[in-house]
Subunit: 198 residues, 2 copies
Amino acid sequence: MIEGSLLVKYGAVVKQYAKDEIIFFKNDLPRFYFQVISGEVKMNSYNEAGKEFIQGIFSAGRSFGEPPLFGDFNYPASAISIDETTVYVLRKELFHNLLLENPNIHLQFTEVLANRLYYKATMASGHSSNNAEERIIQLIDYLKFHVYKIPVNELYEVELTRQQIGDLTGLRVETVIRVLKKMEKQNEIQIRNRKVYR
Amino acid sequence: MIEGSLLVKYGAVVKQYAKDEIIFFKNDLPRFYFQVISGEVKMNSYNEAGKEFIQGIFSAGRSFGEPPLFGDFNYPASAISIDETTVYVLRKELFHNLLLENPNIHLQFTEVLANRLYYKATMASGHSSNNAEERIIQLIDYLKFHVYKIPVNELYEVELTRQQIGDLTGLRVETVIRVLKKMEKQNEIQIRNRKVYR
DNA sequence: TTTTCCTCATGATCTAGGTCATAAACCTAT
DNA sequence: ATAGGTTTATGACCTAGATCATGAGGAAAA
């Protein structure tokens, strides 16, 4: 996360989106750095069969859609607000200036990308396994340990719907529901009035 | 890719590995920046069932295993030479210095991570589809257009074995073989004495 | 020039997860 | 309170890809 004041100093503006507004489309030319102030944004794409795949969900303080600002490729997914959301928006060139003139911020930004890559690498090995349970555990553990940094002995409440878990792992809702129940029986997770804990 | 001379100036040393040597293990503590001089390295991990998953294959000029140098996590996969290979090895702290003192190199390095993320994002949406053909096309097209930058109208020879394609996409060899044949019939690829072109 | 090893190939099954259908539980706004 | 929408739940099938088994082709080495 980059300080709002610094972003503004370099020319960022605040933009507001209602729920379910599209911030940019897959294949659009990337021209801005985005950072969530409040609300939540998801990045998604649809496969040939029309099934949604969620690349990531970004809450307050997180930036999204930055990689294409550094490679010569377009957005690999669309960005959509899933709540009423406000974001900082900073033009690509100005963002580059910001990084070049603030080496520590740049280093910190590198950390953000590194963490994102770690998430992708982790999920990729799970996806490849074609094993529903492995995929779901990988997702939940990533959230618990790497996003929210909950200690092992503490219980973490997964604040995702079954559908979202499915869209993040490439599984169908029904499968997610069934596998979660199986996992509960095996004491790998707990379910208390429909909420998942691990 | 960072100039060898610059790496050496900051203290990098050249290290040599025979074929199939392990450079680092999954879960090791990351302490070095690695960049391939000659030969080839793969990063892999194994799922619960023992099936290999290849996170990436890195040839001359490419660096690997950098993200953990910037986050507080260990290697999510192992690195193994798949040929006789030489690499530059630079201590983490010295690599950080290099980036901080050379902003353009840092920016260029950010581009490397951005491209890697693009690959992961692309493959992730394919994996999630659970459709063998989609996964394979995604891999081949990524290599053709984003790694080797071959124009659409030119033919690209995939220099991977069926097994490697399987390990990169999470499919079994037999499936890869069958799907490639099907794709050939549909004129999506060509196969000339066992080599795949697209 | 034969042995060895790796890669490609193909057929016969099996199975995890997808698909379809239907409904209950919960939530929210009017 | 209650209607309408969303999320969770469950059962009955079906299908793509995994699994298992077996062999052929090619390349490198001995």
